[in-house]
């Protein structure tokens, strides 16, 4: 199945800029379906970016983050050609991970 994670990392002189778009319903648990029943909460709980064995960005998410979240951040360091690993785990225990080369 296709990955839920799109990620692009671009190294500038001393920092690396990272953008990512993740496909995930991020259901808050407060929305009702057409029959009036609540759609259960289903959201990413932890999102992690790892570079060179260390975590450069960790997000602890809850129900306030919208569907198909987009994240943009920068970290110090990072060389062109190195790997950047992205992974998430949601409240149902599902996970996904992607590794991309820094451009």
């Amino acid at each position: 199945m296709a990955s839920s994670i799109r990620v692009r990392a671009i190294a500038n002189s001393e920092i690396t800029d990272v953008q990512t778009l993740i496909q995930h319903p991020m259901d808050s648990g407060f929305v009702r379906d057409e029959n009036g029943a609540f759609i259960p909460a289903h959201f990413i709980q932890e999102l992690t970016f790892e570079y060179d064995g260390r975590k450069v960005f960790v997000a602890d998410w809850g129900t306030a983050v919208s569907k198909d979240p987009y994240v943009k951040f920068s970290f110090k360091g990072g060389n062109k050609g190195d790997d950047l690993k992205v992974s998430w785990i949601d409240n149902k225990g599902a996970t996904d991970t992607a590794t991309v080369k820094i451009q």
Partner: protein, 284 residues
């Protein structure tokens, strides 16, 4: 629109009109003149906006929103829908045919020609209508005009036409002129308990705020469709936008692809001739 085709259209319109019953000057539609006045109204109102930029709606009129949008366009929210649309478009029907078999040029790079006036049937055909007809002819069930599948398909078709200018034709046929005129009338007619017309927001108040939204100008307003609207958290078609606009002003929406909506799309697309297709788009 190039001046020569404008002239041709004006001549054709004059010929068509002379063949009609005599009526007051105010009733004779002159689409070419309308389009020119329409364009001038917006370029005069927003002299600092580059002409092609009108297709970007609120982003052409609000710097802060534009900056955020340009950043997001590197990883646009419509990307998933676009990919789905590409796959759907290529998938064979049960009878072995594909959507490509229903459209000129295999359906690639043709979105800017829709809607068109079908002289055999005497009605306006939109892209969404054409897609469902393609399904019907090939023994498939129809899909919802306001749903995500139709949005994905039209997203892909719009994408293949990115940059191509709207090229809507009004043939030398009084029924086509009537459809155009009906669409124009719909656009300016007040409706719903809130008593708004499309023009109330998109002609009288583009760039102003309606609650937290910045209103788009009517010029080029269909060029970015279908759109991923953050408000919806999903992708939406022209049909979805028309019907939800109606209910937002407390008017009961007509059925998707109703004659009024198809004529409205015809009018709005025609007066945006020359502006590039920018879809699929993203809006707040």
């Amino acid at each position: 629109m190039r001046s020569r085709s404008r002239l041709v259209l004006a001549v054709l319109a004059a010929l068509a009109l002379s063949a009609m019953q005599p009526s007051s000057a105010a009733d004779r539609p002159n689409p070419a003149a309308d389009a020119k006045a329409f364009r001038n109204y917006f370029t005069n109102k927003f002299p600092n906006v580059r002409f092609e930029d009108f297709v970007n709606g609120p982003y052409a009129l609000n710097e802060d929103m534009r900056r955020q949008w340009e950043e997001k366009e590197q990883f646009p929210p419509y990307e998933f829908s676009l990919e789905t649309g590409k796959e759907m478009f290529a998938r064979r029907f049960k009878n072995g045919k594909t959507y490509a078999d229903c459209f000129p040029n295999q359906g690639i790079g043709i979105r800017q020609n829709y809607p068109y006036f079908d002289e055999k049937e005497g009605k306006v055909i939109t892209l969404e209508l054409a897609l469902n007809r393609c399904r019907e002819i090939n023994g498939e069930t129809l899909i919802s005009y306001t749903g995500e599948d139709m949005a994905a398909l039209t997203a892909y078709m719009a994408f293949t036409s990115r940059g191509k200018p709207f090229d809507i034709k009004i043939p030398d046929d009084p029924r086509a002129l009537q459809a155009y005129q009906n669409g124009k009338r719909y656009f300016y007619t007040r409706r719903g308990q809130l008593n708004f017309s499309c023009a109330t927001c998109h002609v009288q108040n583009p760039g102003e705020r309606m609650r937290a939204e910045v209103l788009a100008p009517a010029l080029g307003i269909l060029n970015a469709l279908p759109i991923y609207r953050s408000e919806w958290g999903s992708m939406g078609t022209v049909s979805r936008r028309f019907t939800t606009c109606n209910s937002q002003i407390r008017g009961v929406p007509l059925e998707p692809q109703a004659e009024e909506y198809r004529d409205l799309e015809y009018y709005l697309s025609y007066v945006s001739n020359g502006l590039p297709i920018s879809g699929p788009g993203a809006r707040p």
